[in-house]
Structures are given as structure tokens and as C-alpha cells.
């Protein structure tokens, strides 16, 4: 095959360069590089971005052949063998673009954002480690190596959320993220076991070749267990609780890890397991239901949040729900299309929010913002583009992907799902423009002191914003035109080989739905305009009128409280009982009791040792007598 040796080099470098950057920066950053710690990591990530584009371009040139490379054996024990093996196919190609390009831009942005932070070198080291793990995740050609990347990005997420570990909230949030993900990984691990026991391999091609032979009950279990992992990583209900807290991390981290790349891993993994899921109808249904529910649930929470990053975080959960809704409804390519576009516009939104926070001197509460439009114009315009892309207004990126998803819900006969999707789209428009209006319009609500220091961010931060705004605006029309048969569909055809595609009908159901959903989005914008610009007293009155609905949304449906009581406190109480009662009193009590028993026995027997010869002589005589009797009896019988 032409060019595979170059591909091997490219893939090896994509994986190894960020790893080298991590190791070198971690070892030398503090003493040697200091404020120049970013140079090496940024340079390496730039190279990997170029290489990612090269690998993507390779896939474009070889649409029918996937690049597979088993570099060397990882584990070989008994029948169990797994390779350090890599795979580049169209799906990986899309992921490479997302991770490579957004990763690079976030690195550049971080130079400005993290300037003067005492942990500057640490930050860039972790970011590079993250890139390594994420690349392994998307390049792996088997489940176990994917899992290595999967847990690796989880580690980086932990490290970067807890980056400011002197804050309790940050160290708490990092731990929470890792632990909640571990619950999902529990399912993923069992899923891998079941796959191996059923098919005898963990390599994607090997597993998928046998997909049709797996019994339907087993297959359902496999899919559900894998999906459990995805629910954790991609923050779906009920394991979504870690993602809002993850906003404790520096904003570039939120953009890269918790919006554009890592959280997509669950969607990617389910899409990767397409040949399994497509055979398990019930599993697909469950994926769709969880996704749909999560989408509306978190959109509902987002409309009352005041922390600018929390709003975007809940929006991300909602968007990920949209992706799962798509996969579950059988709109595989549309789901990946949404992932692709979402990476850019959601990454953009986060970076913009970072720029806002930067300008406000660390303020994240939107109630203390307002009127920033003129003062930070680049941030404003790029964020506006991101918001429009998010709510899906023609012709921005989100529009094409979102409407394909809603269209296929409708044409697939899932009318309830479609309706929920429409309501979610409305809510999304409301909270996105609530954010825009509260932040950039009206009068400034910040203190005099803060107002005096408001400034547009440095070029190193604003240029990435502009570079992300371009795909956020145009990506949809470039790859998604015409709907349902656009370039991305043709490109992903080898991966989702079995999906039937219908030709999009402009005049008819397809076009009608499209117009309708855009209208709904615009209505949402109008509602936000009325509530947050024209009649700013309305939200308060509404909250007073509907206290239950408001409180539930504002308090995030009380999920954190539920988790605090049910699994966490009860486990600790049970563990405490196990230790202080069962371990110490019962088991060790028995041990010490036995020792005490011997001691008592000794005490009781001590009087026998009187030291008087007569007593001993008597004992000897008695013993002899017993012995004689016993022997006589034995011989006699």
C-alpha cells in the first residue's frame, strides 16, 4: 500500500511527540524553562496538528483502505493477546482533525491565559500528556488500548481540574470527576471481558467480524456495558454530575478536555462499536433514550445558572446527549457530524468565556457582568458566532448537524424524541442568548474597580478565537452540504457501512422541519431578548411564580445531594461499621480472645506446678495407672 511507511512514522510521532513534551517539560520546566515552558509543548503540538492533517488527508486519498499497524505486542498471556496497535480510518480521521487542531489552538491560547501562573510549566506538561492519551484513545485498534487512552485522559482531566489544588473545590472536583468516571469504567471493563469471552479477541476488526454471530442477549449486555463507560466519560445522566464541577479547572482545560475532545470519547467509542450496536436494537433504543433525556434535562438546568462556565458546561452535556440521540436513532454519520462541528463551536464558546473571565479579573458570575460588547469586541463577535452555531441558525455549523439529527428522528418515526429535541433546541437558544445578553449587553453591573481594568485579551488568545470562529461558522456548509448526502456522509460511509441514506427532500418533510426548527431557535433568541434586555424584571417574576420549577433547575435537580446521601455517605458508614465492629471486634476479637483463652488456661493450670515433690510423685503414679488401664483395654480388644 502506498505511503504506509510515512503513515507509520506520522502515527508514531503523533503519539510520541506529546509524550516527550510531557516528560521533558515535567523534568526541566521548573528549574530550566520557567516562563518559557510553553515553547516546547506548543511546538510539538503544532507538529502533531500538521501530522494529524496529513493522516486525515491520507484517509481522504485512500477512502476504501483503513491504515492498520500493530507496532508491538502489549500483553500476551495464555489465550489473551493485545497489541500496541493503531488504526486510522475515516472516523479516526475526523477525530484527529478535532483533537489535533483544537488541541493546538488551545495550547496557543493557554500561553496568554496561564501567563504568570506559578504552575505554568506544570500546566503545559499536563496538556501535552493529555494530547498523548487522547491520541492513543482515537488511534487504538483494540478496546484495551482505547481503554488505556480513556483512563489516561481521565488522569489528565483529574490533574487539570485539580490544577489549583489549594482550593478545596478544585481538588474535590478533580477527585469527583475521576471517581464518577471509574463507575462508568467498571461497566466498560466488564464489557471488554464479555467481548473477549465471546469473541476471543479485543481487536476491533476481529470483534466486528464476529458481531453477527454473537447471541442477542450477550450482545445486548456487551453494548449496555460499553455504553455505561460512555455514559461516564461523555457525562450522560445519571453520571453527568462531574462535568459541571470540572469547571474548577482553568478555562483552556474546559475548552479542550471538557468540551471539544475528551467528553466526546464516549460518543466516539459507541460510534466505533457501530457493528455491535447496530445489531442490538434494544441497546440503540436505550442509547437514544438516555441521550434524549440528558439533552433536555441539562438544557433545563442551564437556563438558570449564573456562572458563565456552568452554563456552557450544561450546554455541553446537552449537546453530548444530542449526539447519543443521533447514534441511537441510527443517524450515525449525523452524530459524528455534530461531534465534529460541536468540537469547534463549543471549544470556541469556552475560550471566549475564558477571555471574558480574564477581562473581568476572574469574575465568572454573569450577574456581575454586562455591557462588555464594546470593550472586548473580538471576544464578543466570536462568541456570538459560537452561540449562533450552537443554537443552529442557518447557515452556521450547528444548523446542519442538528437538523440532520432532528430530521432523522422524525423520519425514523421517533416523534416524541423529535419533539423533545425541538424543545431542547428552544431551551438551548434561550440559555445561549441569555448568556450573550447578560454578558455583553445592557449596563455593566461590575464594580468600578473591575470596570476600569476591563481589556481585550492579548493576540495570542484572540487569534485562536478567530481561527475557531471560522469553522464554527462555515464547517457545516462545507462538509454537510447537501443535507444527508453531504461530503461527511460519503466520507464516513466505510465506517457506518450499513446505514441506508435517504435523499433529502427540500420541498416536503425535510425542508419543512428545517424551517420549523430554525424558527424555534429564533423564537428562543427572542424570548431571551425580551427577558434579559427589554423587561429584565421578568425572570425574577417568573421564578417567583414557579418556585418549584425554578428551584429544581437552579439546584441542578438535586442530583449532587442525592449522590451525597445514597452512595457516598452510606458506603462510608458501612465501611466504618465493617472496620470498627466487624474487623476490630469480631475477627480480631476472636484472635485476641483465643490468646486470652490460652492465658486463662495457663493461669488455671499453674497451681498444678506446686514445686512439692509429693504432688509430682502422686501425678506420676496416677499417670502410670491410667496408662496401664488404657493399654490393658487396647490389648484386650
Amino acid at each position: 500500500m502506498e505511503g504506509t511507511q510515512y503513515m507509520k512514522i506520522a502515527v508514531a510521532l503523533i503519539v510520541l511527540l506529546p509524550l516527550a513534551g510531557f516528560i521533558i517539560t515535567l523534568l526541566l520546566g521548573k528549574r530550566l524553562f520557567r516562563a518559557r515552558s510553553h515553547i516546547l509543548p506548543v511546538a510539538l503540538v503544532t507538529v502533531t496538528a500538521v501530522l494529524s492533517v496529513y493522516a486525515f488527508e491520507w484517509v481522504v486519498r485512500h477512502p476504501d483502505t483503513a491504515f492498520v499497524w500493530n507496532a508491538f505486542s502489549w500483553v500476551a498471556a495464555g489465550r489473551f493477546t493485545v497489541e500496541w496497535g493503531f488504526l486510522v480510518d475515516p472516523l479516526t480521521g475526523i477525530m484527529l482533525l478535532v483533537v489535533g487542531i483544537i488541541g493546538m489552538l488551545v495550547h496557543y491560547y493557554s500561553i496568554g491565559y496561564m501567563k504568570d501562573d506559578p504552575g505554568y510549566y506544570r500546566f503545559f506538561a499536563y496538556l501535552n500528556l493529555f494530547m498523548f492519551a487522547m491520541f492513543v484513545l482515537i488511534l487504538a485498534n483494540n478496546y484495551l488500548l482505547l481503554f488505556l487512552g480513556w483512563e489516561g485522559v481521565g488522569l489528565c482531566s483529574y490533574l487539570l481540574i485539580s490544577f489549583w489544588f489549594r482550593k478545596k473545590s478544585a481538588s474535590q472536583a478533580g477527585k469527583k470527576a475521576f471517581l464518577v468516571n471509574r463507575v462508568g469504567d467498571f461497566g466498560f471493563t466488564l464489557g471488554m471481558f464479555l467481548i473477549f469471552v465471546t469473541t476471543g479477541t479485543l481487536q476491533f476488526t476481529g470483534v466486528f467480524d464476529k458481531a453477527e454471530m454473537i447471541g442477542s442477549g450477550t450482545l445486548l449486555w456487551i453494548c449496555l456495558l460499553l455504553f455505561t463507560g460512555a455514559v461516564g466519560k461523555s457525562a450522560q445522566f445519571p453520571l453527568h454530575v462531574w462535568l459541571p464541577d470540572a469547571m474548577e479547572g482553568p478555562t483552556p482545560v474546559s475548552a479542550l478536555i471538557h468540551a471539544a475532545t475528551m467528553v466526546n470519547a464516549g460518543v466516539y467509542m459507541v460510534a466505533r462499536s457501530y457493528p455491535l450496536f447496530v445489531q442490538a436494537h434494544t441497546a440503540m433504543l436505550i442509547v437514544m433514550i438516555i441521550g434524549t433525556f440528558t439533552a433536555i434535562y441539562s438544557a433545563y438546568i442551564a437556563i438558570t445558572q449564573n456562572d458563565i462556565k456552568k452554563v456552557i458546561a450544561y450546554s455541553t452535556i446537552s449537546s453530548l446527549g444530542f449526539m447519543f440521540m443521533a447514534l441511537g436513532a441510527g443517524a450515525w454519520a449525523a452524530g459524528i457530524f455534530y461531534l465534529f462541528a460541536h468540537g469547534f463551536f463549543k471549544g470556541l464558546l469556552f475560550l471566549c468565556s475564558g477571555s471574558v473571565i480574564h477581562a473581568m479579573g476572574g469574575e465568572q458570575d454573569m450577574r456581575n457582568m454586562g455591557g462588555l460588547r464594546k470593550k472586548i469586541p473580538i471576544t464578543f463577535w466570536t462568541m456570538l458566532i459560537g452561540a449562533i452555531a450552537l443554537i443552529g441558525v442557518f447557515p452556521f455549523a450547528g444548523f446542519w448537524a442538528k437538523d440532520e439529527i432532528l430530521g432523522s428522528d422524525f423520519s425514523g418515526g421517533y416523534y416524541v424524541v423529535w419533539a423533545v429535541g425541538i424543545v431542547t433546541a428552544f431551551l438551548t437558544a434561550v440559555f445561549a442568548f441569555r448568556l450573550i445578553f447578560m454578558t455583553f449587553f445592557g449596563k455593566s453591573r461590575a464594580s468600578e474597580e473591575v470596570q476600569r481594568h476591563i481589556h481585550e485579551s492579548a493576540k495570542v488568545m484572540t487569534i485562536p478565537l478567530v481561527l475557531l470562529a471560522i469553522p464554527a461558522a462555515l464547517l457545516g456548509i462545507l462538509v454537510g452540504w447537501p443535507p444527508d448526502t453531504g461530503w461527511i456522509h460519503t466520507f464516513l460511509q466505510p465506517v457506518f457501512f450499513d446505514v441506508e441514506r435517504e435523499k433529502f427532500v427540500w420541498v416536503g418533510v425535510g425542508g419543512g422541519l428545517m424551517v420549523f426548527s430554525v424558527a424555534v431557535a429564533l423564537l428562543g433568541v427572542y424570548v431571551a431578548y425580551v427577558m434579559y434586555i427589554r423587561r429584565t424584571e421578568l425572570p425574577g417574576r417568573l421564578a417567583a411564580r414557579l418556585p418549584v420549577a425554578y428551584e429544581a433547575s437552579f439546584n441542578k435537580m438535586y442530583m449532587d445531594q442525592v449522590y451525597e446521601v445514597v452512595p457516598i455517605r452510606s458506603t462510608i458508614a458501612f465501611a466504618g461499621w465493617l472496620w470498627t465492629f466487624f474487623d476490630v471486634k469480631v475477627i480480631d476479637g476472636a484472635v485476641n480472645g483465643l490468646a486470652r483463652l490460652w492465658e486463662l488456661l495457663g493461669e488455671r493450670l499453674r497451681p498444678l506446678q506446686t514445686g512439692r515433690v509429693q504432688n509430682y510423685a502422686f501425678s506420676i503414679f496416677a499417670g502410670m495407672l491410667v496408662l496401664v488401664v488404657v493399654l490393658a483395654w487396647v490389648w484386650g480388644s
Binding site: 508491538f72 498471556a77 495464555g78 489465550r79 488505556l148 489549594r166 471517581l179 474487623d583
Partner: protein, 530 residues
């Protein structure tokens, strides 16, 4: 294969007894001269470590049976031999022993203030016993090393330990002794059974004994006796309560060796004796042992969660991790063609030695600075001691089973082996992996990060010094190995394929007959027991 054919000198004896030579040198030249006796201890352990690397390289992983064999008649009347030799399993554990031997010498450089030379002598003598246990191919010799090892450990805990050291030392000693005496009885029974029933006559050769066929009745009781001795060492639930006490009271070096090597002897003994000697009985006990192991995994993890003392936390976590060892071993013999579980179990043994050894070492370093092991008395140590925090984080995640580090592969394979045996038990055991992350990260947060509110908290002691060069040197080899084993476990697995196959070959017929006869045989057997 004999040593003369393989390497030209009796390498196993040299590795085993080098520390003893060191002790003699220390007694001759080291009295009252700390620099001299410390350097001697370091040099001999380093030499033993280098030789054990040579041994690993020279070992032929494709050759069956024991290698570097040395065999001399020792007690002629009883046909007892001085027999040394290793297979892949023993070789890896011997390597681990010599590695940790160097590390504890270096790690205890300034640790003890009182009767320091005695401490180093005890460490060296302990190493002789441990190396001997892994090398002995004669049952009698094995037993001698097994018991000899107890004495220095008893002193290490009893003399250089914490406030309740006497209680802990006696508890450790009695627990182990109960097990070893049962084993001694079983050894005598086994040896005389072979003498009376085979043409070979009296022999203590382990290989020879493990090829014999024993009656089920004998197997049943002898298995129990051997198994109990090893289960106490592992330690398996509910025989584990000596471990937390011993760890809490032991000095750092004692804890490292205890967790790193002594516990491994339990697993090693099961592989070397319980399975090949008594395969029928082993098959009988599978379900009970597997269930107890799964309980140990979850129970140990739960109890770790609520510990207040760092050492106790790591001690209970050992109970949990060692559960993966016993579960892997016995799940592997429960289903045909399930070698992965057993190889995973041995990998867990090795990896646990590295990771838990490292964790105890680091807890010791923290104790030397803060003079406390109470989690509640620490906070935000990452600020004054970033290097310490970095290493600690590494080992914490290693212990939590992060893929790419050594803990993962072993636990994964061992759980996979269990999954083949029982899906539901594997699911229960896998919750131990969630809990491991919980107790480790929570512990890390409370010691290194902040969990006391958004105010900046200060650690109890001021002016804490970060890790020094010597301390970093003790940790770096562990870091390297943890990564190596995580990324390329085949280095270790290559040593294991053949010995594991040999064990499984021995057990498989028993498994098949048990499966063929099912419960009926069990009932018959139970009738004949008493």
C-alpha cells in the same frame, strides 16, 4: 539445568548468601563505624541485585523445570539435600526481593537512631531467608529458610517498631507460626507417605514430591495445612488482622519488605505446593477460596476507605490487592485453558511489591518530616514538597490500576480469569477497582491537596524539606519498573508462560475428573475424610 551448564558459578547461592557475607564483614570491621557498615550493606545488596539481573538474563524461558540447579547431599540419613534452583516465577520474585533489598537499605540510611548496626544486620539476614525461600528446591531447606526469615522480621518489628511493637511482633510471629507448624506436620505426612508408597523412598525434593499421586484423603488435609500457612501470609480474609498491626508498628523498611516480599510468599507457596502437590483437593476448594478472595478484595477496599492512619490504609489496601492474586490463581484452575488468570495473579504479586513497597516508603518519608501518620494531621503537603507529591501521585495512580502502569495488566488478567469462571463474582470484584480509586484519591486529596475549605490551610509542621537525592534514588527504579511492566508486561509474562503451563498441566486432569464426576465424588470424598 544445572548451574555449571548455564553460568559457571552457583549463582543462586551467591545471591542468597552475599548478605550473610556482608553481615560477617560488618561484625569484623563495622562496629561503631556507621559509614563502614552502611556501605557494606549497600554494596552486598547491590551486588546481589546485579547478580539477580544477570540471573534473569541468563534464564532460559523456554526450558522446563528448575534452572541454575545446585544439589548437594546435606543430611544423608534423611536424604535431605541442599537444593537450589529457580523457575520463571521464583526468578521474578527473587529479583523483586533483591531490588527491594537495596531500596530499603538506601531508604533506611538515616532512619534508625538506636542500635543501628543491628538493624542493618537484621535486614540482611532477612534477605537471606527470603531469597532462600524462593530458591530452595528441597522441602526441608525451604522450611528452614521459611522459619529463619521469621526471626529477623520479629526483631525488626519488636525492637525498632512503634509504641505497640511487642504486641504487633508477637501477633505476627504467632499467626505465622501456627501456619508453619501445620505445614510442618503436612510436610512430614507427605514425605513419609511417599516413602511408604513409592519405590523412590525418602525424598524431600519438591519436584519429585509434586509428581506423586496422593490419596484424596491425604490431599484434603495436607492441602488445608499448607493452604492455611500460605493464606495467613497472603493474608486472606479473615486471617488478615495481623497485617495492619504489623505494618503500623513496623519501621518503614519492615513495612516495605513485609508488603513487598513476605506477602508474596503466600501466593508463591500456593503455586509451588498447594496446586501441584494436591491438585484434587485444590479443585475441591476452588469455590470457597474464590469467594473468600472476592470478599477480601471488596472488604479490604471498604475498610481502607475509612482508615485514619496512612499505614493502616495501605495495609488494608494490600488485603484487597492480594485478593486479586488468590482469585487469579484459583480461577485459573477452575476453568480449562484459563492461564491468563494465573499469569495475571503473578503479575499482581510483582506489581504490588513495587507499588505498595513504594507507598510504604513514601509514607515513611512523610513520617520522618511531619512525625505523624494521621491523615487528619496533614494537608496541602504538595505545596512545600512538590517532588514528594509528584512521586506519591504516581504510585497512587499505579496502585489504583491506571492502564499503562504495572497494576493494571495484572488486575485485568486476574479479573478476566475470574470472569471466565463466574461473571457475577467478577462484577463484584471489579467494584474493588472503583473503591481503590476512591480510597487512594481521597487519601491523596487529604494529605497532598486541600480538603478543609477554601481558606488556605497549612500543614501541621512548618519548613518541610522536599525529597532529597538519596530518597529520590530509592524511588526512581520503582517508577521505571512500574512503567516498564505497564507498557511491556511481556518482559515478565515470558518468564511465566512455561511454569504456569506446568502447574496447569498438573491440575487439569483433576479438574476434568471433578467435572466428570461432579458432586457425587465430593460426597464420597467427604464420607472418607474422617
Amino acid at each position: 539445568m544445572t548451574w555449571s551448564a548455564q553460568i559457571g558459578f552457583p549463582i543462586l547461592s551467591v545471591i542468597t548468601f552475599l548478605p550473610l557475607a556482608g553481615v560477617l564483614l560488618m561484625l569484623l570491621f563495622g562496629r561503631g563505624r556507621p559509614a563502614v557498615y552502611k556501605v557494606i550493606s549497600l554494596v552486598v545488596t547491590l551486588a546481589a541485585f546485579v547478580l539477580s539481573i544477570v540471573m534473569l538474563v541468563a534464564l532460559d524461558t523456554k526450558a522446563p523445570g528448575m534452572q541454575f540447579v545446585e544439589n548437594f547431599t546435606w543430611i544423608k540419613a534423611l536424604n535431605i539435600h541442599y537444593g537450589m534452583g529457580v523457575d520463571g516465577i521464583a526468578a521474578l520474585l527473587l529479583f523483586l526481593t533483591t531490588l527491594l533489598g537495596v531500596i530499603v537499605i538506601l531508604g533506611s540510611w538515616n532512619y534508625v537512631k538506636d542500635r543501628e548496626m543491628g538493624f542493618f544486620i537484621s535486614l540482611l539476614l532477612l534477605q537471606v531467608g527470603m531469597a532462600g525461600v524462593f530458591c530452595a528446591t528441597d522441602l526441608f531447606l525451604f522450611y528452614v529458610f521459611w522459619e529463619a526469615m521469621l526471626v529477623p522480621m520479629y526483631f525488626i518489628i519488636g525492637i525498632w517498631g512503634g509504641p505497640r511493637r511487642i504486641y504487633a511482633a508477637i501477633k505476627f510471629f504467632l499467626f505465622t507460626l501456627v501456619g508453619s507448624l501445620l505445614m510442618l506436620v503436612a510436610i512430614i505426612v507427605v514425605v513419609y507417605y511417599v516413602k511408604d508408597n513409592t519405590a523412590g523412598g525418602l525424598t524431600f525434593n519438591i519436584q519429585e514430591l509434586s509428581r506423586q499421586v496422593y490419596t484424596y484423603h491425604l490431599q484434603f488435609w495436607a492441602f488445608l495445612a499448607f493452604f492455611l500457612a500460605f493464606a495467613i501470609k497472603v493474608p486472606m480474609f479473615p486471617l488478615h488482622t495481623w497485617l495492619p498491626d504489623a505494618h503500623v508498628e513496623a519501621p518503614t523498611a519492615g513495612s516495605v519488605i513485609l508488603a513487598g516480599v513476605l506477602l508474596k510468599m503466600g501466593g508463591y507457596g500456593m503455586l509451588r505446593f498447594c496446586l501441584p502437590f494436591f491438585p484434587d483437593a485444590a479443585v475441591t476448594f476452588i469455590p470457597y477460596i474464590v469467594v473468600l478472595s472476592v470478599i477480601a478484595i471488596v472488604y479490604g477496599a471498604l475498610v481502607s476507605l475509612v482508615q485514619k492512619d496512612l499505614k493502616k490504609l495501605v495495609a488494608y489496601s494490600s488485603v484487597s490487592h492480594m485478593g486479586f492474586v488468590t482469585v487469579g490463581i484459583f480461577a485459573a484452575i477452575a476453568v480449562a485453558n484459563n492461564a491468563a488468570g494465573m499469569e495475571g495473579a503473578i503479575l499482581v504479586m510483582f506489581s504490588h511489591g513495587l507499588l505498595t513497597g513504594a507507598l510504604f516508603l513514601m509514607v515513611g518519608y512523610m513520617y520522618e518530616r511531619t512525625h505523624t501518620r494521621q491523615i487528619a494531621d496533614m494537608a496541602l503537603l504538595a505545596r512545600p514538597m512538590p517532588i514528594m507529591a509528584g512521586f506519591f501521585l504516581f504510585f497512587v495512580f499505579g496502585s489504583a490500576g491506571l492502564p499503562g502502569l504495572s497494576g493494571f495488566v495484572g488486575e485485568f488478567l486476574s479479573l478476566l480469569g475470574l470472569f471466565v469462571y463466574s461473571h457475577w463474582l467478577a462484577a463484584i470484584a471489579a467494584t474493588g477497582v472503583i473503591l481503590a480509586a476512591a480510597y487512594l484519591l481521597w487519601m491523596f486529596q487529604r494529605t497532598m491537596f486541600n480538603d478543609r475549605g477554601d481558606e488556605d490551610v497549612r500543614p501541621a509542621a512548618e519548613g518541610l524539606r522536599d525529597l532529597g537525592v538519596r530518597e529520590i534514588l530509592t524511588l526512581v527504579p520503582l517508577v521505571v519498573l512500574v512503567i516498564w511492566v505497564g507498557v511491556y508486561p511481556n518482559t515478565l509474562l515470558d518468564f511465566l508462560h512455561l511454569p504456569v503451563q506446568e502447574i496447569l498441566h498438573r491440575v487439569t486432569p483433576s479438574l476434568q475428573s471433578a467435572q466428570a464426576h461432579g458432586v457425587a465424588q465430593l460426597v464420597d470424598a467427604a464420607k472418607g475424610l474422617f
